[in-house]
């Protein structure tokens, strides 16, 4: 293999695929990045058998071929290369790779390309196209609500439900639930799917997606899903199992409806959480007619009480929330005002942006004696 490319070409390819490299794997080849040259382009691939990423960059190919290079060293050298034309040569028999830059060169021992697993191709009719920017926002709004507990794999995933021209993303860790729905603009009304995609995968996808109005193609296989954007293929396994019936936990109606300024609530909740961290992350809310009292108390350190103006409809109430769960959602609300819907101190509270029914966040209160 013989290739001439710029530093940026290499850097882009390596940075996109490196998150799929398996850091600790009994198969040494999976700790590497496959670099393959074919007519006019260089393909970088990495996989840990759960997630696979492929990135294609245009280069000048003088001789076709491929090699698997240890990701740890390859990534570091590419980052530190000077901004000049890079000559990349690999010996097919010994897999010895020479990276030449200016008058200098770097030798790296590789592994045969045949040992690297093939990333599956999906021939499926179940294809959907969405705008990258839009999908990025959707993932941001639900991705944080997944669980980290690997003993309950279903909750480490995000449910993607496609029905009647709508796409829904749902994530929960059983203490909170984030739900986002959106119309599919490209008119694939016939497609009906319900899959659970690992939350980690979608968060990685979010990191890679550039947005800027480009399309993202989503293809569903038997137990895999593929995301395609220009130059990048992203393949993930799906989580097997039945996602719980989230509809049954979303309360219909409420007894207290509060409108509050997002920034004011965020600032107060963050200040109150300074003391809440010492205990069990509890912030208490006293909802009065024209204001809301936010308080937190740590007997050994001190206490805080803040008052912020609200517009309230319905009954006065008191409730306590885990400060982290509350702050997590306020961070992703991008409207100036937000809505809190409560039904007493023991029922889940609903949080949503103002004038937007497409996003719902459900949060279980903490019982305070």
């Amino acid at each position: 293999m013989k290739v001439i490319a710029s530093k940026d070409n290499f850097l882009h390819g390596v940075q996109v695929v490196q998150r799929a490299v398996s850091a600790k794997n009994p198969l040494p080849v999976l700790t590497g990045i496959l670099v393959k040259a074919s007519e006019g382009h260089l393909t970088f691939s990495a996989t840990d058998l759960e997630l696979g990423i492929e990135c294609v960059v245009p280069v000048t190919v003088e001789e076709q071929g491929g090699v698997v290079l240890p990701a740890k060293y390859f990534t570091e050298i590419v980052r530190r290369l000077p901004d000049v034309a890079i000559n990349f040569e690999s010996n097919k028999e010994k897999n010895n790779t020479i990276i030449k830059y200016g008058q200098s060169e770097f030798n790296l021992l590789g592994m045969p390309e045949d040992d690297f697993p093939l990333l599956p191709k999906i021939d499926s009719d179940s294809i959907l196209t969405v705008k990258q920017e839009h999908f990025k926002t959707m993932i941001k709004q639900v991705g944080f609500a997944t669980s980290n507990d690997d003993n309950r794999p279903i909750f480490t995933g995000i449910l993607m439900e496609i029905e009647q021209g709508n796409m829904k993303l749902v994530a929960t860790d059983t203490h909170r639930l984030a739900y986002r729905t959106s119309l599919i603009e490209n008119g694939e009304e016939v497609l009906e799917k319900s899959v659970i995609i690992p939350g980690k995968t979608l968060n990685e996808l979010n990191r890679i997606m550039t947005g800027e109005g480009e399309d993202l193609r989503i293809a569903f296989g038997e137990n895999q899903v593929v995301f395609e954007m220009p130059g990048i293929r992203f393949i993930s396994r799906l989580i097997e199992g039945q996602f719980p019936n989230y509809r049954q936990v979303i309360p219909q109606g409420c007894k207290t409806k509060i409108k509050v300024k997002t920034k004011e609530l965020m600032d107060s909740a963050e200040r109150a959480s300074l003391l809440a961290k010492e205990g069990s992350n509890v912030i208490k809310f006293n909802i009065e007619e024209e204001y809301m009292l936010i308080s937190s108390n740590s007997p050994d350190i001190g206490k805080i009480e803040e008052q912020i103006p609200i517009v309230m409809e319905g009954e006065k109430t008191q409730i306590a929330f885990n400060s982290k769960y509350l702050i997590d959602v306020i961070k992703i609300i991008d409207t100036d005002e937000m809505i809190l819907e409560l039904t007493g101190p023991l029922s889940p509270g609903i949080i949503k942006p103002i004038d937007d029914e497409s996003y719902i966040y459900l949060i279980l209160p903490i019982r305070v004696v």
């Binding site: 309950r152 929960t172 203490h175 029922s347 889940p348 279980l364």
Partner: protein, 106 residues
């Protein structure tokens, strides 16, 4: 004469004590009568319920469901999951949305 007066005073005190005791016994008897009446009514209600229940199997099923639901509430309040996902497992991290969703639905 003095002795007679003293005896009379003593007798009067004893009589007062006896009257008080009689009063408290009377009050107690009324309370017992009330309680007895209440228990009779309760027995009657239970008896009537069983008569109705035997005649209506649907009603019996509803009562059995109610009893089952009460058991689930008790199980949840004792710190166990009652949702179909983790039924019977210990709730180590507080309330569960799906258990509560189930309870609210009922």
């Amino acid at each position: 004469m003095k002795q007679l007066n003293a005896l009379l005073a003593e007798f009067e005190d004893k009589m007062k004590g006896l009257m008080q005791e009689l009063q408290s016994l009377k009050t107690r008897a009324y309370a017992l009568e009330d309680e007895n009446e209440k228990l009779r009514r309760e027995i009657m209600d239970v008896y009537q319920y069983y008569l109705k229940d035997a005649a209506d199997p649907k009603n019996r099923q509803e009562q059995s469901q109610k009893h089952g639901f009460e058991n689930l509430v008790r199980l949840y309040s004792e710190g166990f999951h009652i949702c179909n996902l983790h039924f019977g497992q210990l709730r180590s991290e507080g309330d569960c949305l799906f258990c509560m969703g189930f309870l609210d639905k009922k």
